[in-house]
């Protein structure tokens, strides 16, 4: 139906199938196909059957989901090229639909989406969501995995304490309990209440801040609804670019005004930390401070803290590597890391969905369950050897850890290297 590897998103009214918008894929599906996709779902509904996904002969996949009996989202993927197994691709699409719906609520609020009074107006208002939705559809977010893991991409600074204090003080001065500091689009520190937002909300807010930050704007006042915490009442997200690449945001009520917060609080409370912020910026995409040693044969890693729902990830490509004649590019490494994560959690490990708090999401882990039913136990470690790299993943009560290494690492040593690397990171950062 579509080109390999591309994903198209359709949004229609659930009751009458009026198209609200389509995004993604350069070549749009013909209107007749869109009509049929809606029709076949409706037909199922009439027969008391809920159509949730299907696969075409060519490896294309379609996923349907109706939200609050009012809006239907359909994701269509051309399938194939990425090499992901079909179950993993299905869960990616299901996750995508959840995320897109959350984006729509974040920007427009649930009321407007559930009470469809004026379709034309809704269509126009929905355009406000495209920026975020397009970001979700874009395949390459190098170094940012939150949309997939529903964990907050983090950067561990060399010295978090003064930053935490400054952030707490700043949030308080702005009459807010929810504050967060970002460096290179990843969370450095956040207020305690921020971590009590639903993990999915945290990930969405991070995505929003990244788009604001990438636009180069100095400050923003964005109305946002929290899909789970406050779907019908808007809060204000105030965002400030302290330094290029270093952003702070707070969720506020009616006060203070953007101007007041900026002129009276930002300079006063953050100027003393300018050097600390610069040292965070210097950590760069490694996301781990220099005090954490990484073996040179490590290509990439993803570490998830299952309790705090935070993650750190990095790709380490040293071009003049003595051991490596590997021609893996940085972006290919990110892609492989992503694929290995999907592979592991869709086959062996569980994704901690229950913590997401959304009952709607429980359906999507069904693929995992189907597969796991074949086991009499819950796997805790897995490895994968490919031509490009060797991968090792394992989980503990507290962490999930995914490591990509050079093919030159002996397979029998993978487990030791992985365990040691995790120990090194945790003892240096307490992540």
């Amino acid at each position: 139906m579509l080109q390999d590897g591309s994903t198209q998103l359709l949004c229609l009214t659930a009751s009458s199938g009026v198209p609200l918008f389509t995004r993604g894929a350069s070549k749009q599906l013909p209107f007749s196909v869109i009509g049929s996709l809606n029709g076949v779902h409706m037909f199922g509904g009439g027969q008391g059957a809920l159509l949730s996904s299907c696969e075409t002969e060519g490896g294309g996949k379609v996923v349907w989901k109706v939200f609050h009996d009012s809006v239907m989202l359909i994701a269509v993927s051309g399938g194939g090229s990425s090499g992901a197994c079909s179950g993993a691709e299905m869960s990616r699409l299901q996750r995508l639909l959840e995320n897109v719906w959350s984006c729509m609520v974040l920007v427009l609020g649930q009321d407007e989406l559930v009470n469809l009074r004026n379709i034309e107006r809704l269509k126009r208002d929905l355009r406000s969501c495209f920026c975020l939705i397009d970001q979700l559809l874009e395949e390459k977010h190098q170094g940012v995995l939150g949309n997939l893991t529903h964990c907050a991409d983090s950067l561990v600074p060399p010295n978090p304490t003064p930053l935490q204090e400054a952030l707490d003080g700043f949030a308080q001065a702005a009459d807010s309990e929810f504050g967060c500091l970002f460096v290179h689009g990843r969370i450095v520190v956040a207020t305690e209440k921020w971590w009590r937002l639903a993990p999915q909300e945290v990930v969405l807010l991070c995505a929003l801040v990244r788009t604001l930050s990438a636009s180069g704007s100095a400050s923003c006042d964005y109305p946002v609804f929290l899909p789970q915490g406050s779907p019908t009442v808007a809060h204000r997200l105030l965002h400030f670019q302290l330094l290029p690449g270093a952003d702070v945001c707070v969720l506020c009520g009616p006060t203070p005004s953007l101007q007041k917060a900026e002129t009276e609080l930002v300079g006063r409370l953050w100027s003393p930390l300018i050097e600390t912020l610069r040292s965070c910026l210097a950590v760069g995409e490694r996301c781990l401070p220099g005090s954490v040693p990484l073996r040179p044969d490590v290509l990439a890693l993803l570490l998830i803290n299952r309790e705090t729902r935070r993650s750190v990830s990095c790709v380490q490509i040293s071009s003049h590597h003595p051991l490596s004649d590997s021609s893996l590019s940085k972006s290919r490494c990110w892609e492989l890391l992503e694929l290995f994560y999907i592979f592991s959690i869709s086959r062996y490990f569980t994704q901690d969905e229950t913590l997401c708090g959304s009952p709607e999401e429980s359906t999507q882990s069904s693929h995992t369950e189907d597969f796991l039913h074949g086991f009499s136990h819950q796997p805790q470690q897995c490895y994968l050897v490919t031509e490009d790299c060797k991968c090792y993943g394992f989980q503990t009560q507290q962490h999930q850890f995914f490591l990509l290494m050079l093919p030159s690492v002996p397979t029998f040593a993978l487990r030791t290297v992985a365990t040691q690397t995790l120990t090194d990171i945790i003892s240096a950062t307490a992540f």
């Binding site: 406000s128 180069g216 100095a218 109305p223 204000r236 670019q241 290029p244 953007l258 101007q259 953050w270």
Partner: protein
């Protein structure tokens, strides 16, 4: 309404082309591109050449899709987004611009903070417009050369803004001038408008060049009119310390 300022009456016109401006403009340029300053930063001159920085708030007005966000990015030398995404709240962009006063050769950095807010967001959320209007110093009124209604709506908008305050610099910018194949607004009409309202009108559009000449006319015009407005406000005494100056380093 304030008397119209003749371009070049108060500041040295095209100063970015003069040799003596180089050390100042170098502070807003990094590797041939415009430098993006975070809120904690500002251009810093060596101690012997220190200059004052004057802070102004400029609101960008115009209907959805005319090119408000694109113009803000253009003036700041940022990447212009190629796809139109509705701005769903207030977004501000900071532009530093050095200016040389004519009368005494004094150099000043103008810090223009451009306030851009999506029209849909303004309509949906009541608190945004007051926030944009709070202590605003200037308004850029935008119309698009490819959309006649946006041009016809100008006077409407201008009246709306003049009612609330008369101490306001107003500048008009016609966007998408590069799309002359789709031009929907005649030069003649623009001239007529300019004469009626006695306001500066600029044309904008096309590829962003890394040269300053692209944005200099608009920024110089804003700076000059803001300076003049301050002089008028301060009773022709010139802009002294009483106005809000930057407190950041």
């Amino acid at each position: 309404m304030m008397a119209r300022v003749t371009p070049g009456a108060f500041i040295v016109p095209d100063w970015h082309r003069c040799k003596d401006s180089k050390e100042y403009f170098n502070k807003i340029i990094q590797k041939k591109n415009r430098k993006n300053f975070g809120l904690l930063e500002s251009p810093v001159m060596p101690p012997h050449a220190a200059v004052d920085t004057l802070d102004y708030k400029v609101f960008i007005s115009g209907k959805s899709g005319v090119g408000k966000t694109a113009l803000a990015a253009r003036l700041a030398g940022l990447n212009i987004p190629s796809v139109h995404h509705e701005t769903t709240g207030i977004q501000t962009t900071v532009v530093y611009w050095p200016v040389k006063l004519r009368e005494n050769g004094r150099v000043l950095f103008f810090r223009l903070q451009l306030w851009d807010c999506g029209e849909n967001a303004l309509r949906r959320f009541d608190h945004l417009l007051p926030s944009c209007k709070e202590q605003v110093d200037a308004v850029l009124f935008l119309f698009s050369f490819t959309d006649r209604t946006s041009f016809q709506d100008l006077s409407n908008q201008m009246t709306k803004w003049t009612e609330s305050t008369d101490c306001l610099v107003k500048v008009v910018v016609g966007t998408k001038f590069d799309l002359f194949m789709h031009c929907d607004v005649a030069e003649r009409d623009v001239r007529k408008f300019q004469e009626t309202w006695r306001l500066p009108v600029f044309h904008s559009g096309g590829e962003v060049s890394d040269r300053l000449g692209d944005v200099a006319p608009i920024l110089n015009c804003l700076a000059e009119n803001l300076w003049h407005q301050d002089c008028v406000r301060a009773g022709a005494a010139g802009r002294q310390q009483q106005h809000k100056t930057r407190t950041l380093p």
